[in-house]
Amino acid sequence: MRILLSCSGGMSSSLIAEALSDEAKKRSVDLAVDATGSESVADDLDEKQYDAVLLAPQTVYRKDAIKAEADSHHIPFLMIPRLMYSPLQAGKLLDLVNEKLGK
């Protein structure tokens, strides 16, 4: 499974993406996470095949636009809850991803 994780500029999302990949490796779940900035989401989705788009809580102001992008590519969209957007909460976030996106 490959997911795209977007924040405003692609900085904090890269930290969360790393923590999430590490967590997945620990549980030997097949998961690749790419971090990006919200203005590049459309291009990223055109370029590569993703299975889901995740959006960082502080970028909630782009929610509608990013969700529309995900819809137009027929993949699920997930807004990350505030309390899970932390490198320490990667386990919970992975649970949520698995639960919402179904394996």
Binding site: S8, M11, S12, P57, Q58, V60, Y61, L83, S86
Partner: protein, 437 residues
Amino acid sequence: MAFNTEKISTDMAKIAGNRYLTAIRDGMAVIIPVAVVGSFFTIATQLPIDSWKAFIKPYVAALGLPITFSIGLMALYSCYAIASSLAQTYKLDRNSSATVAVMVFLLLVIKPGAITAAISKKTGIAVGTVFPTQNLGAYGLFTAMLAAIVSVEVIHFFKARNLVIRMPKGVPASVSNSFMALVPAAVLIVAAWAVKEGLHFDVNAGLLTLLSPLAHFGKDNFLSVITPIFFNSLFWLFGVHGAVSSTPVYPYWYKNLYANMDAVTHGATAATVPHFMTEQFFQFFVYIGGSGAILALCILLAFASKSSMGRTLGKVVIIPSIFNINEPIIFGLPIVLNPYFAAPFILAPIADGIITWLAMISHLVNKTIALVPWTLPAPIGAYMATGFDWRAIILTLVNIAVAMVIYYPFFKAWDRRQLATEQAAAAADAQTGAAEA
């Protein structure tokens, strides 16, 4: 409680998510790489080595050239990028929309001059048409935004009502896209031309007058120090990226920075340039470690926590925070909607802003003359942005210390409660463990 925080949070997200504000923010971000590189030419003249200064002196004017073509033309680049990013939200062709917007912008703000043979002989400038560049820089940014937004809206309007020339199937997409923009482009260009040459109306001057209340926040005064800090913290406290709240003031900050850079190419130093009110003022002296001067709290968490959550979290968040990435602590602690930290998250950066303001107006520290990458640790970024002033390093350290003092009582209260929770949980575990055994 009558105070619905979720509702406020949603409303703030709505403000920040405004289609135009987002396009402007994304569009203006494109000039960062060129402006950073241009800035290196400014600070190259300021290296604190005497022999280097003597060596570089004859080239100072020549070193100004990349500055003129980077931040000096920022309205031109921004106009293209804002139009392109707005066009994307409407699924319009980005290149043709942005090109039309740039032409509309140029028509509105440029009055060409001419170099005749006689002038050419005197000045050495080639005969031909010349464009004054002032309006292409930060001075023309508002018109650039307006031209970008109006152009894309008009193209969108025509396309939505099918008032466009459509090519038959089989014509390459790039060709049919450019024809799509033909009718709206004609309307836009004729309109811009009529405003400029028919009505003789100076759109840029008009906009600057109209928006002059905003200009107060770009001036070198006390109010423009504390207002953006307050709103930045407030947005983050409700979980929305704070930088959006300053978007309307950016043109003035860039105008000031360019004035400073320009002064350097004319022989000034970072100590004698006119403006302290730039984005860099906030980036490296106030938002140390990210909004809310949060590095101070990260240090306290990592090294002064008694609770295990504080220590663990502190070690995780301190490194990103050194590079001014604050989301891990803002959502990890969290700061968002957390009554323990709302007050210091607003007060600490405001205190830092006031100290920096006092230091700069009393000439204790140089003003900023360069745009350096915001991910640099504050002391290094401040040192470079001020043209290598070692006192800027001291100031950032003082600001971190002051912020730590302001955060301390709130941190202590949080840590005590956290520790109590942890001890209670451990006691409960021990009890169930004993019961099972």
